[in-house]
């Protein structure tokens, strides 16, 4: 080894002695991005919610006001829209959880190693197709002359007519976000050692007792993680209500779209977005209170 210490080596040694500096160097580029692009725009959005628009000129009036919020909370049309959005998000979350639980359990604990990969690939497969393509596929299935009604009339079954209703929205949302529920629950099941299930059976517990006492507490964080996806994705969507929902199926997202693009009222759109964010924050808080983030 040469006795001459190069600048490069000296720099390396200095970094080695200061772990915090290494951390700072690694983190600073993404942190800058996060601060400037993400947080700053979010703050701008929230601040805008407290401005208003001059109804004559259409210009934003930079004066602090609660008018947007009082409008949202006094006009019953917005109450209906918010309620519809939240109830749909809850329904979709429950539906996906009920479908994902047995499916994820099967993949993680029953399927063979090789078929496990095939099943996971099938779960991810729809995500490779465009969102719009998948929604239009459902229009083809559910619409009055679509696949489902024709199949039913062929078989002599009563024909369902759910196209352009909230039921159709519920079906399509549940389909769209199911992978986001399956994957975290699958991961949670995967982390439960087989010996836990064997020990429970060995001590006399049936399937239901084992599920309630052993599995459920251990996979709850996975369910909550999945529900955060399904809940927030439904909460923020406006395309499915537009394409699948009927005349009275507006979501918060549609209301935002209307006021921002059609109405040209950015401050009011920002206030609606604020409501959306507040609902999500409340949801996370409730999940936390339920102990879902407690490490096992």
């Amino acid at each position: 080894m040469s006795t001459r210490v190069t600048t490069r080596e000296r720099l390396g040694a200095a970094l080695w002695r200061r772990p915090w500096l290494r951390g700072a160097l690694i983190l600073s580029p993404p942190l800058m991005w996060f601060l400037v692009v993400y947080l700053a725009s979010l703050v701008a959005l929230l601040v805008t919610a407290f401005f208003s628009v001059n109804s004559l000129t259409g210009n934003v009036v930079y004066q602090w006001t609660w008018s947007n919020f009082s409008q949202i909370f006094t006009q019953s049309v917005y109450e209906t829209i918010i309620l519809r959005t939240v109830i749909m998000a809850v329904l979709v979350t429950i539906t996906d959880a009920l479908i994902a639980l047995p499916f994820a359990f099967f993949i993680a604990k029953i399927a063979s190693r090789r078929s496990r990969q095939a099943f996971l690939a099938l779960v991810f497969l729809p995500l490779w197709a465009s969102y719009l393509a998948r929604v239009y596929a459902w229009i083809n299935i559910l619409s009055n002359h679509g696949v489902l009604p024709s199949l039913e009339s062929h078989l002599g079954l009563p024909v369902t007519n759910v196209a352009y209703t909230n039921v159709a929205m519920w079906i399509v949302f549940s389909y769209l976000w199911l992978p986001f529920m399956i994957v975290p629950i699958y991961g949670a099941f995967e982390r439960v050692p087989d010996s836990f299930l064997e020990a429970s059976a060995d001590l006399g517990a049936g399937a239901w007792f084992t599920f309630r006492q052993i599995l459920m507490p251990m996979i709850l964080p996975g369910i909550v993680a999945g529900s955060i996806f399904t809940f927030s994705l439904t909460l923020g969507d406006f395309i499915t209500p537009l394409l699948i929902g009927g005349s009275s199926s507006n979501f918060i997202g549609n209301a935002i779209y209307d006021s921002a693009i059609n109405g040209g009222d950015l401050p009011f759109a920002a206030a609606l977005a604020f409501v959306s964010i507040a609902i999500m924050a409340l949801y996370l808080l409730l999940a936390r209170l339920a102990g879902a983030f407690e490490a096992i």
Binding site: P193, S195, F196, E198, A199, S200, A201, D202, L203, G204, A205, F209, Q213, I214, P217, M218, I296
Partner: protein
């Protein structure tokens, strides 16, 4: 079994069906129906036969060890007895009752798992109480029995701790308490001390023996540690490739190994050619000197290739002049009689043929011994 015997068909008493073929010498014990009886147990995983046509009887109240290298079928057999696997062929009976088709909890057996399988979200008391809660035992009785079980394993003061707050040895004790609280007829232990360090392992070996004596139930213990098997068991079975090579008390298995495999797996041993055939000679029965071979003794000369100081004894590997290798052990005495032997030293190995035990012929042992003899002269 060490005694040669013929094979006989065994007919199921209720169905009249021929269920398996069994050795005649074991038939008397079968009728007693008191312990665990395995007849013609075969288990395949895919094309791999993990357990091949095993017959085994474990007596009531004994500490029985299944010893063997990994993949020898001992754990699979334990899981078959536990009810976690179903045999492809054969029957398992417990105290004369056929339990082959019964789930684990209807068999009167409980298992202590290798990873302990303690439920992380329950505290110690709740873990131990699990089996009783399943059976809807009254609250007061649960508390009482949990207390008694925790006393048995000396874990009373840790009742409110979570498994994550316990050491390996403590978790082991909790797993034991959780299994015995159900008062099983048989306790199955799957390498329960495998994750502990040597000192703790030795401590727990004594503990396990004490608890077994205290509650007086049958223990079936799986291990790959031959020392553990020798110290703890009333009897042990040595497994190899899904079959049992030998069953017997520790002294018998150690002193009179039935096959070359048993001889080499249970302790170190040398295989020599005696006038009556092949025989096993333990390293401590070999005298190692640097003088000539004494009159009237059997022996050979060679060169030391390796010296290992093991505390109580020193172990010498010697390459004999005929090219074979033998292992000899010598007690380390406190006096000055240490032999100054180093690799390359010329030595004489000598032994008394009375100390050697003949190996059973291949057909008796029901095995195929493919490997060449290790220490044969």
């Amino acid at each position: 079994m060490a005694t040669p015997s013929t094979r006989t068909r065994f007919v199921d008493a209720t169905s009249g069906r021929v269920v398996s073929e069994t050795r005649a010498s074991e038939l008397d014990v079968i009728t007693s129906g008191q312990g665990i009886l395995l007849r013609g147990i075969t288990k395949r995983f895919g094309s791999q036969e993990a357990v091949s046509d095993v017959d085994l009887e474990v007596y009531r109240g004994e500490f029985f060890t299944m010893l063997g290298p990994s993949g020898s079928g001992k754990t699979t057999l334990l899981r078959l007895i536990a009810g976690f696997e179903v045999p492809d062929k054969g029957t398992i009976s417990l105290r004369g009752v056929d339990v082959t088709g019964l789930p684990p909890y209807q068999r009167g057996v409980n298992t202590v798992f290798q990873d302990y399988a303690l439920f992380p979200h329950f505290d110690v008391a709740r873990n131990v109480a699990y089996g009783l809660r399943v059976r809807h035992v009254k609250r007061a009785e649960i508390d009482e029995r949990v207390q008694a079980a925790l006393e048995m394993v000396q874990m009373t003061e840790f009742a409110a701790r979570r498994p994550a707050q316990l050491s390996g040895g403590q978790r082991q004790r909790v797993a034991l308490a959780r299994a015995i609280i159900n008062e099983p007829q048989v306790l199955l232990l799957d390498e329960p001390l495998g994750a502990l360090d040597l000192k703790l392992r030795q401590e727990m070996q004594v503990e396990l023996k004490r608890i077994q004596r205290q509650i007086g139930i049958t223990f079936i213990y799986v291990t790959h540690d031959q020392e553990e098997a020798l110290t703890m068991s009333d009897r042990l079975a040595v497994f190899r490739s899904g079959r049992i090579e030998q069953i017997g008390p520790p002294t018998e298995v150690y002193e009179r190994p039935a096959t070359e495999f048993v001889a080499s797996f249970v302790g170190t041993s040398n295989v020599i050619e005696a006038p009556y055939g092949r025989a096993v000679l333990r390293p401590e029965k070999i005298e190692i000197t640097n003088g000539p071979l004494a009159e009237g003794r059997d022996g050979a000369t060679g060169q030391v290739i390796d010296v290992a100081y093991l505390g109580m004894v020193t172990r010498y590997r010697v390459r004999l002049d005929n090219g074979n290798t033998m292992t000899a052990a010598r007690q380390n005495s406190s006096g000055g009689s240490q032999l100054a032997l180093t690799p390359e030293s010329r030595v004489t190995l000598s032994w008394d043929l009375n100390d050697a035990f003949p190996l059973m012929s291949h057909s008796d042992a029901e095995t195929q011994l493919g490997e060449p003899a290790k220490g044969a002269i």
